[in-house]
Amino acid sequence: MTTPLLDMLNVTKTYPGPEGGPPVEVLRGVTWQLNDGESAAIVGPSGSGKSTLLNLAGALDIPTSGAVRLGGVNLAEADDTKLARVRRELVGFVFQQHLLMPHLTVLENVLLPLLADQRGAAPEEYARELLDRVGLSSRLHHRPAQLSGGEQQRVALARALVRRPRLVLADEPTGSLDRATALVTTQVLLDLYQALGFALVVVTHSLELASRMARRWTLAEGRLEPLA
């Protein structure tokens, strides 16, 4: 029996409520597992805790209670340094806002994760290969401001994959794109998923994107339920 890549057990996440009010329980006893290479979509209304779930899964946050294991590491017991290492080595993030560094070129933005552990000059070959896969090999030295929204998001995709993560977490990756661009971007993501074999979790409002994932979950009232 293989060890799940991501193993959440009875995870609860609570935030302080408004002044004088009770705390807000965003996640209630979430138990969820994801294996290497699997894909999953999480859907749900706004404010249901989808991003919170993704942050916990990506070692960006720690649960109020319960356990989260990612790549065998118990995230609840990890300090900030360990969490950062986990994020560097295991996780790649794709956000709704591409969050590219405006002063760096496309190539430099993709290489950015390799600088997180101050390893010095990063090898460019894989980055160039990724950019070629996303169709931006001719735009290596352009700045983000010179790209369209879809192109910027594809750069963000390449950036998320440059360290060969085992898990890619995409939070509304097409949320800010028009429909045509969203379709293109979705296809690029799925092509990469197929080619590189990482586990993929997508938070999305797009039923079409959700339907392309192997499994679908819904988050409502803090509980994760499989979606038929």
Binding site: L60, A84, L99, P102, H103, P144
Partner: protein, 1051 residues
């Protein structure tokens, strides 16, 4: 806050000075200061005669010396005031006066002597004779008188203790005694030399009062004595022995028939084999001289002719003392021919009343400062004295007598009118002779003094300008950042159809309300700051205020005006930001790009401006010249231009494309600075300006220059001394050396003493923060100073002989002008005059004249005085006493010389100070102003430091999403916030280094400058760097402990 504080400080200083003025003069409106004490008629008293209903007080005032023998305490520059009950009526005190034998002390004098009621005090004052101390004709044998008085009470300042006719901030050392007792003790009963006059409804103007006083003063008030002559007619003479030329001309013109005469003391009449000692001769008009008597002829009495065995046609040699050009007593002679011998009765009435001589019963009882050889007196001379009381034995032409024997004091000893002129006629004629007095509207003078001094409001506004600028910049930054944060709202309103003008008006209205609240809070803070500043001016910065007593005054208007101005200034700054923001298209809210705005100034223009500024920074010191490098202005300009040029260079760099070599992955560092070039530049330059000011102030702190060089501010003299009582002789003259036994001390090699004459006034140096109308006048030996090459000039007189700048002071000028020089700083800040200006003055005889400014000295030990040639000073002030000494001695003789002088001149109130200490005390004012400037700059820097922290906080907020993304990519929090802090520290310290570099470029430090590292300003600089660092760290800490993850989503 700064504006309110400046307004309040200025108001407080002015009201304090006005309050001091009221304490000084009470209810007096006019003060009449006579040149010499005189018996003033009763007609000048309260409620009588021409002064109508005005209250009047007579005073007899001397500068003297006070000693508390039981405690060994002693002080000079004591103002001894003989008063009666009417004096204290001017100060709302109960009508009382010191009884005979009592002295009342002012609070300051009591503190200085540590005296209390019951103590015995010795007061030493000059004799009140009408004669100046160094007049050669029968000078008073004793220059001063001393007596014991019992201290009865201490007079509070508000009850007259602080009385002073002159507007000074320093409380005088007043000792009040019974006026009549003082007059009698000083040798002239019944005299007074000051009149205080209160408000009069019937005699409202100063001119009216002057006319009334001159009318009422009469002959007695002018020290005239009028008597009838035995054979009819009248004679006028002066208690001061001699009458000056102007008075003689006035009276002989006013009343025809007047004949002046000049009777003089002749040491000896000689023939080849005989001589007659010590007799009088008279220069006369008319009898007994024949009408055709020649200028070199005399008529002798038979008594003299027989004694000398001479007859008509014989020649005689007359030997006598005169004052030479240097006002030294020298014996000289003239040879005359006997025209005739007369037997007409000799007239003792021709001899003036000479103190020490006229009352003597025998020749051997004569008491005079003239160096007489009593052994010459023969029995026949004693007989002659007993019979004739010195009646003249010889007569010569009056004009000849004037040419031989007149001096600065006068040209005649009497004027005679033949019958039918009566004493009443003469008395009427004298009423039109100008009174030798100075009339001062003391109330107006006090008001002018209080309001005409340095404007402390403008001073503190200037000193606080950096605070205001820093605050405005900070407001602009924060307001601009807030406005940028509200861009989505603004875009929405625009999208809905509202015009940008409407939006701008709403924003301005909103800002106006906030600014109003801030202005009110600032006004309240300004009141607190003003209290602190006034407390500072009373204590640590008291030199800047001249030690003036200061009260904090908080009228409603000042905080209201300060709040209003602060509000307006803040509103204008906000309006400028709104206008600038409205003029440029907004950045996209969904992009991380900086929303670069198109620069208003092109790259080429910026490059040109940078080149011009930096070139000017290099050129200014060269243009200003080597000597001007010692002045602050060219150096400040060079530093400012350096900063300006650096700013333009920085702007160019920030707007240039970034380097492609290893850009930082994080949102920090030079590339991030380029996102907001204006903000980055401001963040660099504002602290840089502040640091520049701090370092520039410290390196320019004035150091006391050496006093040994001749061209130093001390002229090579090592000590400056003053006496409380005028010296009757020049200590370096033969008479002076003999009088004070100074031969041994003065004959040492390298020793030089110069005695200077001074006419009292209100010191106009930098320690007096009041406007001065009557500065003291100092008469110097200009020829000596030229020979020594003493002192240096900011601007030497243009008409002086080459290499002899002081000679310009002795050159002839217009009849009513005398050339004068003064320190450049006094000219600029104190009296506000320039070369060529005339300063109206009134001379000793009450006649107007003017001083023409012909040169500016380079801030010397004479600061506060107007300096004249001694001889020219004596033309207008013949009685000007010697009261200041310049002393030069080699180091090994300095102490012994000063000890000797202090011992020998103790009874004249000799006090000395080193010229170094004198210069130090003058520079202390400059240093105090620099300390205030530094305090304000430090306040501005603290504000800038805190503002820098706010900026750092703002910058980090704008980059939260970038920071969150890096966190997601695996950066640790520690590394992220470490880079954030480092980025802001780099900016802060870059500003510091830029300011330091500009300061070093403008003010190359001297070695002794570095030795003062531990001065408060350096500590303040370090403290301020800490504030800036802490504020940045605080901003970083606050943000690092807040949530970042929410910023991963759309913002």
């Amino acid at each position: 806050m700064t504006i309110t504080a400046a307004l309040l400080v200025g108001r407080s200083v002015q009201e304090s000075l006005e309050r001091v003025g009221r304490l000084r003069i009470g209810h007096a409106h006019v003060a009449v200061e006579l040149a010499a004490p005189a018996p003033l008629p009763l007609a000048l008293d309260n409620g009588l005669g021409p002064l109508g209903d005005a209250p009047v007080a007579r005073l007899l005032v001397f500068d003297g010396l006070a000693t508390l023998p039981d405690r060994g305490r002693r002080t000079g520059r004591v103002r001894v005031l003989g008063v009666d009950e009417s004096f204290f009526g001017f100060f709302d005190a109960r009508p009382a006066a010191p009884a005979e034998g009592e002295v009342w002390l002012s609070r300051r004098l009591a503190e200085r002597l540590d005296a209390s009621p019951g103590d015995e005090l010795v007061l030493r004052v000059p004799m009140a004779s009408g004669l100046p101390s160094d007049v050669p004709l029968g000078a008073a044998p004793t220059a001063w008188a001393a007596a014991r008085w019992t201290v009865r009470q201490i007079v509070a300042d508000e009850f007259g203790g602080r009385f002073d006719v002159r507007p000074s901030v320093e409380p005088p050392l007043n000792a009040f005694v019974h006026r009549e007792a003082l007059a009698a003790f000083s040798g002239r009963p019944g005299v007074a030399n000051v009149l205080l006059i209160g408000r009069s409804a019937t005699v409202p103007t100063l001119d009216d009062l002057r006319r009334a006083v001159e009318e009422a003063a009469g002959p007695a008030g002018r020290n005239f004595e009028i008597r009838s002559l035995p054979d009819g007619g009248a004679e006028l003479r002066s208690a001061g022995v001699v009458l000056d030329a102007a008075i003689v001309d006035h009276l002989t013109n006013a009343l025809s028939g007047g004949r002046p005469l000049l009777t003089y003391f002749v040491n000896a009449w000689r023939t080849p084999d005989r001589f007659v000692p010590y007799s009088f001769a008279s220069g006369v008009v008319g009898e007994p001289l024949p009408p055709d008597v020649a200028a070199d002829e005399i008529v002798v009495h038979a008594d003299l002719a027989n004694d000398l065995a001479v007859r008509a046609g014989d020649r005689l040699r007359a030997e006598y003392f005169i004052l030479d050009a240097q006002q030294r007593l020298v014996e000289t002679h003239t040879v005359v021919r006997v025209r005739a011998v007369t037997t007409q009765p000799r007239d003792p009435g021709l001899v003036p009343d000479l103190p020490g001589i006229s009352q003597a019963t025998s020749c051997r009882d004569w008491k005079t400062s003239l160096p007489l050889d009593i052994s010459r007196i023969r029995p026949a001379d004693e007989d002659d004295w007993s019979r004739w009381r010195g009646a003249p034995k010889a007569w010569l032409r009056y004009d000849t007598a004037v040419s031989l024997w007149s001096n600065r004091f006068g040209v005649a000893t009497a004027i005679r009118w033949p019958a039918p002129v009566t004493t009443a006629d003469v008395e009427r004629a004298t009423r039109r002779v100008p009174l030798a007095a100075r009339f001062t509207d003391v109330r107006e003078a006090a008001r002018r003094a209080a309001r005409g001094g340095p404007d402390f409001t403008m001073l503190f506004l200037g000193l606080g300008a950096f605070v205001i600028v820093a605050a405005l910049l900070l407001e602009g930054w924060m307001f601009g950042a807030a406005l940028a944060g509200r861009e989505p709202e603004i875009r929405l309103l625009v999208a809905l159809g509202f015009t940008r003008r409407d939006i701008a008006r709403w924003l301005l209205a909103e800002t106006a309300l906030v600014a109003l609240l801030a202005a009110m809070a600032g006004a309240a803070a300004g009141i607190a700051l003003a209290c602190a500043l006034v407390a500072g001016l009373r204590s640590v910065w008291r030199d800047a205020a001249g030690g003036a007593p200061l009260w904090t005054v908080v009228p409603f208007t000042a905080p209201a005006i300060g709040a209003l101005l602060g509000w307006l200034v803040a509103l204008l700054a906000a309006a400028a930001v709104i206008r600038r923001h409205s003029a440029t298209p907004p950045a996209r809210a969904d992009s991380l790009s900086a929303g670069r705005r198109r620069p208003h100034v092109s790259k080429r223009t910026t490059l040109a401006l940078a080149a011009i500024a930096l070139a000017a920074a290099l050129a200014v010191p060269r243009i200003a010249g080597r000597a001007a490098l010692e002045r602050p202005l060219p150096r400040l300009a060079a530093g400012a231009l350096t900063l300006l040029g650096s700013g333009f260079v920085g702007r160019l760099w920030l707007r240039s494309p970034p380097s492609r070599t290893h850009p930082s992955p994080t949102p920090f560092g030079p590339h991030a600075w380029r996102r907001h070039p204006g903000r980055t530049l401001a963040a660099l330059l504002v602290p840089a300006c502040g640091w520049f000011v701090v370092f520039a102030v410290e390196t320019h702190r004035p150091r006391t220059p050496p006093t040994e060089p001749r061209d130093s501010p001390a002229g090579g003299f090592s000590a400056l001394a003053e006496t409380s009582i005028a010296l009757p002789d020049d200590p370096t003259s033969t008479d002076g050396r003999r009088r004070w036994r100074l031969d041994d001390a003065l004959d040492q090699p390298g020793v030089r003493v110069l005695a200077l004459r001074r006419v009292e006034g209100t010191a106009a140096d930098c320690r007096n923060i009041q406007r001065v109308d009557q500065p003291p006048l100092l008469g110097v030996p200009t020829a000596t100073l030229d020979e020594l090459g003493a002192f240096s000039w900011r601007r030497a007189p243009a008409n002086a002989a080459p290499g002899r700048p002081w000679s310009a002071l002795a050159l002839p000028t217009a009849p009513d002008e005398i050339p004068a020089v003064l320190d450049a700083s006094v000219a600029t800040w104190g009296l506000r005059v320039r070369i060529g200006d005339r300063i109206p003055m009134t001379d000793e005889r009450g006649r107007p004249f003017a001083l023409r400014i012909v040169g500016l000295l380079d801030d010397t030990i004479f600061q506060g005085h107007l300096v004249l040639d001694e001889q020219r000073l004596l033309e207008r002030f013949p009685s000007a006493p010697r009261r200041m000494l310049l002393i030069e001695a080699p180091a090994e003789w300095r102490e012994p010389l000063l000890e000797t002088l202090a011992d020998r001149l103790e009874d004249w109130g000799f006090e000395w100070t080193s010229t170094r200490d004198r210069l130090d005390s003058l520079l202390d004012v400059h240093r105090a102003y620099l300390d205030i400037f530094l305090a304000f700059s430090s306040l501005g820097l603290a504000l800038g430091g805190l503002g820098f922290g706010v900026l750092a906080w703002r910058t980090l907020i704008e980059r939260r999403s970038e920071l969150a993304m890096l966190l997601a990519l695996g950066w640790t929090r520690r590394r992220l916030w470490g880079e954030a802090a480092l980025d802001q520290w780099l900016l802060a310290w870059a500003g510091l280094l830029l300011g330091l570099a500009a300061a070093l470029a403008a003010f190359p430090p001297r070695w002794e400058g570095w030795a003062s590292w531990w001065r408060i300003s350096w500590i303040a600089a370090a403290a301020l760097a800490l504030i800036g660092t802490l504020s940045v760290q605080t901003a970083v800490w606050m943000l690092s402990h807040g949530p970042l993850l929410p910023h991963l989503r759309s913002e």
